[in-house]
Assembly symmetry: C2
């Protein structure tokens, strides 16, 4: 049994006066000040009944309040369910139910939920704090957080992330990127995703300043980078594209030593443009199940291996399997990974993705002669739209429930702004009609708006293989004016 200290408690013991957070309004707070707020807030959460082991959902957008909430829950020893703020009511309710959650902490409207006790950050300010047992140490295998992700089958499932997973992820990243006392990491990825959340843990573990921004947009980011001498940044490709434009126009100067691009494929021209203006971009590969990056390009290979996601981090392993056999160099197969940052599995669900310590990612790629990974295809059928994952099966499930719809296939279509957007191909029941707008409205009631198909095509039949399995990759050929 390995124990770990509470990340924040340990940090505040060592360097209480270092800056912990720069808030969106440019106000700074030290680790000691952060801890004081966290301790107070934990007392209030304890007063409303939250205790060690409670399942507590957090539905908040990036903010100092969210940081305080997350650390406060860890101080009590609650299990945190991070919920995506962009989902639909119905999706949230599914996650609350599935994760056996009893409390929901949110800074959105709070009167809409049943079966859970809902509190906003503001109303908690009026609660008198209780005394509680500070969880100064945790076991490495204790569950810290859960986040929902969908597989190809559609039903979202909660990825279990332990304290040991988060710790190992922070250490492995540090062994790749190093750490200097004057590093500052800007958080523009949502903290309800692991890419954003993991930076919060790194901040406490390293003693590192994090910088929050009002909006995850290039302009706000470039401004904050300049004002607060940001050195590290994790972004999705859409934001990077806009940033490169700003820096090319020389509107801002920057102190960045590392821009991590992950969460989806990074277009080669973007990587090259970035490098031309000396923006030190590192491609990285990871997923919710690996608690953020597991494969990242080491600094010295930025130029010679452009386009590669890199090698497995220190303590992590990577292999490519083709039909259950180790692929040769440059041979494409499924990416399979292992490491102390890899989740043990899904909450209350068996999954063949986890096997003997290895995670079968469903992503396709190859490793070159020098051991560098190139991701060639995303997890089967996954649509990544502006950094958010969309699983076709989820949308199909909703649409097929409409009384006039017989069958449906969803896939991603290229989009200048979002990378991909979902589009649906619908076969209606004989002698029925329904408008595109009506089906979109039908989706809107059940799905996050970014998941609502941007186009709906009515077709005669769907492409299927011999086993009658839907061939989503062939759907786009059904668009009016496309060649079969």
């Amino acid at each position: 049994m390995k124990t770990l200290p509470n990340f924040l408690v340990e940090r505040v013991r060592l360097t209480p006066n270092r800056v912990a957070v720069v808030k969106p309004n440019d106000e700074q707070c030290t680790f000691k000040e952060l801890y004081d707020d966290v301790f107070q807030h934990a007392g209030r959460l304890s007063a409303i009944g939250i205790s060690k082991g409670s399942h507590v959902a957090v539905l908040m957008s990036n903010s100092y309040e969210m940081i305080v909430t997350v650390h406060a829950l860890h101080l009590i020893g609650a299990v945190i369910i991070l919920m995506n703020t962009r989902l639909s009511q119905q999706e949230w309710e599914y996650q609350l139910e599935d994760s056996d959650t009893s409390y929901l902490l949110t800074n959105l409207r709070s009167d809409r939920f049943k079966n859970v006790k809902v509190y906003s950050f503001e109303e908690l300010q009026t609660v008198t704090p209780n005394s509680f047992d500070i969880q100064k140490t945790v076991r490495s295998e204790d569950v810290a957080t859960m986040m929902y992700t969908s597989g190809t089958t559609g039903a979202p499932k909660a990825v279990i992330q332990t304290y040991g997973n988060h710790w190992s992820s922070a250490i492995a990243s540090m062994l790749n990127l190093g750490f200097k006392e004057d590093d500052a990491w800007l958080i523009c990825l949502p903290m309800f995703h692991v890419g954003g959340l993991s930076t919060l843990y790194k901040s406490a573990i390293y003693g590192m300043k994090v910088v929050l921004v009002e909006k995850a947009e290039a302009q706000s980011i470039a401004k904050a980078v300049q004002t607060h001498q940001v050195t590290i940044l994790s972004v999705v490709s859409k934001v990077l594209t806009d940033l490169v434009t700003l820096y090319t126009r020389k509107e801002y100067t920057h102190s960045l030593r590392c821009v991590l691009i992950g969460g989806g494929p990074a277009p080669l021209p973007l990587l090259k443009n970035s490098m031309e203006i000396k923006l030190p971009v590192y491609q990285t590969y990871g997923m919710t199940e690996t608690c953020s990056q597991i494969v990242t390009l080491a600094p010295e290979y930025m130029l010679s291996k452009v386009g590669s996601a890199g090698t497995a981090l220190y303590t992590c392993e990577l292999k490519v399997l083709n039909q259950d056999k180790m692929a040769s160099p440059n041979e494409i197969g499924e990416i399979v990974v292992k490491g102390p940052n890899v989740s043990k599995g899904y909450y209350k669900r068996e999954s063949s993705s986890f096997n003997d310590g290895w995670l079968y990612t469903g992503d396709m790629g190859y490793v070159d002669e020098d051991g560098f990974l190139f991701v060639v295809d995303r997890r089967s059928d996954l649509i990544i739209s502006g950094g958010e994952n969309i699983y076709p099966a989820e949308i199909e499930e909703v649409l097929v429930a409409h009384k006039n719809v017989l069958e449906v296939g969803v896939t991603g279509k290229d989009d200048v702004k979002w990378g991909k957007v979902p589009v649906a191909f619908v076969v209606l029941h004989k002698n029925t009609t329904v408008s595109k707008e009506e089906l979109q409205q039908f989706c809107k009631e059940k799905l996050a708006s970014y998941k609502v198909p941007k186009e709906i095509y009515f077709v005669e039949s769907l492409p299927r293989n011999a086993a009658n399995k839907l061939l989503r990759r062939k759907l786009l050929e059904l668009q009016p004016g496309e060649e079969k």
Copy 2:
């Protein structure tokens, strides 16, 4: 069961082309080149019969050959017994026997040992390498190394150091000092002590250049610092004193961002002189049992807490006990520590120093209001002479075996050059005489020369307490011309 990768194998996978070692002759080698040498050498060690679990003693002075030997033994999975090159034949033989060692690798004369197979680095060059199983992963709790240390009772005992201990030590240090790709750590502490050896592991784990010097003397060090842009240095106070003199005379410039001073008390004037010439000195406290530092001053407290050894590193704990009770701030008591870098105990020996995960160090100190440790007294009676530990009981045991000696007390006396030197107070059997020189010669045959008492005083009786226990602290009062 937690596994760890072989530190070097993992590093060479990631950054094979970074410089790993700068040899004393200024030649550089990369991690890949180092690994090639290590792999070859491991093949030879395998050919002479060394295999996983073999107990192999290494009796070498700092050199590239020693680095290759240590890594090669880890590649095979042998347990390494690091032996101090300055000991006597008899002391070495005791350690070889006590540690159940079957192989001795040395670059000293090799014909003097019985019961172990002895090989010099040179003669191994002629051996044809065998194939062997590379230990790519180890269990965290596997024994990596053992080193001898003595307690107040005199019998040297082997401290067990696991892979997990070494790993945790490297990580905890990194979380304090940070790491930049261009860091270079100069090794001038002997690698048969944990202070030197631990830097070797850090090199592999961080991907960091280490710089070796021909001689652990200020001039060679200052020269190497300047030539190779060394950023981190661990030293004992004698070397630091000389370094400060050189830098005050402006004979050299330096790139140092951190000078760790440990292994013994750091005189306050020395710390202040260092700071005056902007040498960034950090006091640190640790011992063989904690696999190097466990308490170190964080960068930001260098000035405000000068003289303090700092706070327990991230993941480590520290408390001061006075009569089994937690001491109040500023109250002196025994220093008791805990952490993943702390040894599980001694080889084949029970010890009350290890209790419930805590190590009772025997050192005395206090913690101020802000939690900073001040070491006020060394492990009961320990004499530290030029960075080497001398245990009075060891010398007493030797002297009392002389036919004319009735009883003896040994203690440390201040010395300008070495900090302390051992001196002995001897009570002879009635009606016998023996010269100081004869007793020193008698010691020389059995003890490392730095342990031979510099002075021997013949006295009537020794100071003892009511329980008849020797009061070593009162010995110096017996010197001719001293006040009682």
